[in-house]
């Protein structure tokens, strides 16, 4: 009996400790998108990346003033719906900040950065894309840098500049509680360029 009590007393702080200590990874199928997601969380942060089908992205940008050629270019660049949250308001409030220049994707031992708002903006200016389409694109993309106060969050698209179906690891960097944190999400995968039937669920 004493052993059971001490075991229970030991387990409670341990379970809480796990919740606060390391970065936890969850993967599965996002119920809304019916597409694979990867989610990491650590003490006061949570980052969820959900695949977007190239066709979904193509349609989205065609509806916002992009020509087929450019909509296709974006669609085939590995786009993920991204939700980054400062959840420290649940326990120990602390601001959270990140800079996407610090993040990297690795494929077969080669590392590269993400394709960011500023990179695309240069491209759109060269290609003389209509202003309204550029505005829609800029605000659809995940912010390059951001500081979140406790309770703040953003949604947006992250573009990893890889071919459809590519497998990769993602290095995620953020600052919180006065420290720089790094996590590697292994075996992520860009969505394949497929044209799904309604109601189907896509496995990586």
């Amino acid at each position: 009996m004493r052993r059971v009590i001490s075991c229970c007393l030991f387990c409670l702080p341990l379970l809480q400790g796990i919740a606060h200590a390391d970065t936890r990874l969850q993967t599965g199928i996002d119920p809304e998108a019916t597409l694979p997601y990867w989610q990491i969380s650590n003490r006061g942060m949570s980052l969820r990346l959900v695949q977007r089908l190239p066709d979904q992205t193509r349609g989205y940008f065609l509806a916002r003033g992009f020509a087929e050629k450019e909509a296709d270019l974006i669609a085939k660049s590995c786009v993920f719906q991204t939700v980054f949250k400062n959840e420290s308001n649940k326990n120990q409030p602390s601001p959270l900040e990140y800079n996407l220049h610090d993040w990297a994707v690795s494929v077969g031992g080669r590392q590269q950065g993400l394709k960011l708002r500023e990179d695309w903006q240069r491209e759109w200016q060269k290609r003389k894309i209509p202003k309204a389409a550029q505005v829609a694109f800029e605000w659809s993309l995940y912010p390059t840098r951001q500081v979140y106060k406790p309770g703040d969050y953003n949604w947006g698209m992250s573009i990893f500049n890889l071919a459809p179906g590519t497998k990769f690891d993602l290095k995620v960097v953020w600052r919180q509680y006065g420290k720089r944190h790094t996590a590697i999400i292994k075996d992520m995968q860009c969505a394949a360029d497929i044209h799904p039937e309604p109601g189907s669920v896509h496995q990586p």
Binding site: V4, A132, P150
Partner: protein
């Protein structure tokens, strides 16, 4: 022994319940570190009326930058409207500034998300650029003196008293 296991399980449930309760009560409207004068703007609403921010001096103004394609923007609109119904006429105004879309798109949006406060159109994104916005939605709270004192990045449940009381409190400043 069975009882002990049950007690332990109940304790664990209790801990997670406390966690959930905290989630619900800890919505925040964080203060900006250095309050700044809200950049002025003049914009037309989807109904054709023109709004000038400076005309609202002496009132508290919630400026919400949003777009119809942005899921958290859509999610927070109904609660913002419920809040508006509660505080309308009490010295607080809501201006929801749509970024980069046209009147037809907003009109269509209103069919699914009816709101009673003005939806302004920043077609070319020039107004949003005057504010330190990096993602949508972002909301700024302007005090009666015309200074931005709170910023919320991401959606909120605006009809929670803890949040809108922060706005009402500002009227006394």
């Amino acid at each position: 022994m069975k009882y002990l296991v049950a007690i332990c399980m109940m304790s664990l449930c209790c801990f997670s319940r406390i966690g959930l309760a905290e989630d619900a009560i800890k919505q925040t409207l964080p203060p900006v570190e250095k309050p700044f004068v809200a950049p002025d703007f003049t914009l037309a609403s989807e109904s054709g009326k023109t709004y000038h921010l400076a005309d609202f001096r002496g009132k508290v103004v919630l400026i919400n930058f949003w777009a119809t394609w942005c899921p958290p923007c859509r999610r927070e609109m109904p609660s913002m409207n419920r809040m508006w119904q509660k505080i309308k006429g009490k010295g607080v105004e809501v201006l929801a500034v749509n970024v980069g879309e046209d009147a037809d798109t907003i009109f269509e949006f209103l069919g699914a998300y009816p709101v009673n406060f003005p939806l302004l159109m920043d077609h070319d994104g020039s107004v949003v650029k005057k504010y330190p916005v990096t993602g949508l939605p972002t909301s700024y709270i302007v005090n009666p003196q015309g200074k931005v004192v709170y910023r919320a990045v991401g959606g909120r449940e605006w009809d929670e008293p803890a949040l809108y009381n922060q706005l009402l409190q500002l009227r006394k400043q």
